[in-house]
């Protein structure tokens, strides 16, 4: 098997070796060579397609940052839900304070509702922990993919152009990350500038 200086198998070399074997087999006069040649050609094609797909994943336009962007989006969810939860808690604390000045009946009813809000607000902690686990899984997947891509050797020449959305579809990007998003003031200024 073809090995690199570091001892790792170099798939592109192995692929070339396989193609040479196929070529030599074809030149033989063996009666049953076609079945073997077909199998090896299938393997060769399969390796070529897989290398191409890995190459696209590794180097395709936009894919280089796919994992970090996804991670940023997930972390933004945590930030946004924390912000929303704190606003809900702000409101609940106001209700709790006001309830102290009411008659026992309505005061107790409001306090019970406020307690329910506090209890339900714990969802943010749970979802935050779940999302953190997903982020770690993504980071692990990214590392494994990089390792796999390295095993496949140079892939830049194999990278296929990523299918970018066009027309109206290209306008659908979902909510922007806060650090990249325009503020309402920015939008108003832009809108006004458009006449």
């Amino acid at each position: 098997m073809i090995m690199s200086q570091s001892g790792n198998m170099q798939l592109p070399d192995a692929h070339g070796y396989l193609d040479r074997v196929i070529g030599e087999l074809r030149s033989l006069e063996a009666p049953h060579k076609n079945t073997l040649v077909n199998v090896l050609e299938y393997l060769s094609d399969h390796i070529r397609v897989t290398r191409s797909e890995i190459g696209a994943l590794k180097t395709g336009s936009g894919n280089a940052q796919m994992f970090s962007t996804t991670t940023d989006e997930l972390e933004e969810i945590v930030t946004e839900t924390a912000r929303a939860t704190n606003r809900i808690m702000d409101a609940a604390e106001v209700v709790e304070k006001v309830s102290a000045s009411l008659e026992p009946g309505p005061a107790n009813a409001l306090m019970e509702a406020v307690t329910n809000i506090y209890e339900a607000s714990a969802f943010q902690d749970i979802t935050g922990q779940r999302i953190t686990k997903i982020v770690r899984s993504l980071q692990s997947l990214e590392e494994k993919l990089a390792s796999l891509a390295n095993a496949f050797g140079p892939l830049d020449e194999l990278a296929t152009a990523e299918q970018q959305p066009e027309g109206d579809a290209a306008l659908l990007n979902g909510p922007q990350l806060e650090k990249a998003a325009a503020s309402q003031t920015d939008i108003d200024a832009l809108f006004a500038s458009l006449g």
Binding site: E93, Y118, I126
Partner: protein, 129 residues
């Protein structure tokens, strides 16, 4: 069972929202003497300055986890007697067993409600009742 309103409680969680939830629920139990820490290390230093009457801690924190904190507290002659409630999303049997072996006083799984919190506090602070 009523609780000693003067008891000093240290709550530990790396999610500030959860600290706020805990503080508010404790306030509804008339427990207003509450101090917060965002991680196990900060909490431990807080306790060494002045030992609290009750510790309520999350498990999943870095770098000092709730389990680390529990073990440090139980190994500290000045703190080892303090009731320690673990409030965590870690609900596997092995987690509960390990926490129990480390000396946890009670264990609350997130999400929890105010009644559960009250019951667990009352169960670990009988002298406070």
């Amino acid at each position: 069972m009523s609780l000693n309103k003067n008891m000093r409680v240290v709550i530990v969680d790396d999610y500030t929202t959860m600290l706020r939830i805990l503080r508010n629920l404790l306030r509804q139990l008339d427990l207003n003497n509450v101090e917060e820490a965002n991680d196990g290390d900060t909490a431990y230093h807080l306790m060494q300055k002045s030992p609290p009457d009750l510790i309520i801690s999350d498990w999943n924190m870095a770098p000092v986890t709730g389990l680390d904190l529990l073990r440090k507290v139980r190994a500290d002659a000045k703190l080892k007697h303090i009731p320690f409630i673990m409030v965590t999303a870690e609900s596997k049997t092995e987690n509960v067993i390990i926490a129990k072996q480390a000396g946890v006083s009670n264990y609350i799984v997130k999400p929890f409600n105010a009644d559960t919190l009250r019951a667990k506090i009352a169960s670990v602070c009988p002298a406070m009742a």
